[in-house]
Amino acid sequence: MKFRILAIAVACLALYPSIGYSNEQLQVASLSTVLTDIANHVGGDAVKVTPIVKAGIDPHGFEPTVRDVKTMADAQVVLASGLGFEPYLGKLKTSLGKQTELVIVGDAVKPLMVDASELCHDHGHDHDHGHSHAGEKAPDPHWWHSVSNVKTAAKTMRDAFIKEDPASRVLYEENTKAYLARLDALEKWIRLEIAKIPRKERILVTSHDALGYFADEYAFEVHPVQGISTSEQPSSKQVRALIDTIKADNVKAIFAENIENPKILSEITRETGARLGGTLYADGLGQNEAATYEEMMRHNVSTIVTALQ
């Protein structure tokens, strides 16, 4: 009798993971603060997201350490932005075992193509420069500045999580549905706020060229001081050309970013009379302020509208 009870108990324990909600959290590692936030919304309690790139770190200059690679190799899912944002992805894929699914979220979005020479220095180039990229196009990697792309990212993550953890399918689907509703509301709010700025005054002068998707979505022109990468430094000729543009277009304000030193922008404001409009978050979330994707977008939009209205 006791043996039968014990056998039934063991059988129940063996069946438990397949008949209900899995008690084990899906281990996820993330190479971007934005991806970390989206993953937490989509995964909820069913996932444990370990951020490899944390707030305050410039992702353009980031290289994963041996410890970071080990953390990612121990995860079941690794999330990357893609579109050339992480130039080390090829090497990383080799380092991760077959048990780890590398999800390049940016592969699912519709990319904005830009002049490849702007991307030359930091993104996706493993070879020595011996040639020019003039005339070539490459994707702008900052896809998260379009809310529509973030909706696509949420669905991509949902599908990846379900593939690795089918037992929590219902939870991932419900979480994603709720998050998409929040993103719809965010998108509407952004449109209503941006409508306050006359279209001819929608000119963004920013530290580096990270707001292309935002500009495309809401009819802005972007004039970056630096190129796509934060490591590029503008020449004096480029700065002079920018100053002339700011004066000609009567640009009211220019914007720094959370990571870069706004020194060059301060010099430009002195020459043009445009004021420093505030700090925008471009490459990732903030540590205290703009700590979630929604907060980041609301902060950026409010800053822009206040400065340009």
Binding site: K188, R191, L192, I194, A195, K196, R199, F220
Partner: protein
Amino acid sequence: MTGNPLLRFAILALALCGMGFLIAGLTKRPPSEPLVSTEVIPKDDPSGAEAQELVIRFDSPAVPSALIIESEGAEIAQVNASTFGEPLHVPLHIPAEGLDLVVRASWNDESSKSHALRIRINLPTDSEIDTTLWGNASIADVITIPGKEPR
């Protein structure tokens, strides 16, 4: 003026306050009343270009209790229940880059949770924008009027 400095200060302060109240009273805006007609005063266009006219028609199963149109952060028209079915003539300066109008409507009708508002806009170019906004007790959305050089 001779005399106690404190007294002099107090008299001066009272005089300034009195002037302040007078100025505030003269510059106080009278309470706004809902427009009965749909007359709109266009904003001055620095380029000196003449205003163009949009003709806007609204349609909804339930007439909204409030309906306003904004442009560049300012209210440019307000429609009340009695004129809801009539075309709204809106003189506007439409820049080459285009113009974003914001339409805000709200309903006090508690019997229905969902509302729809159809908006048809006849443009100066003889083309038409025809769109329907959906929402619950309130609706707000942006309608873009294209310009000659859209951005």
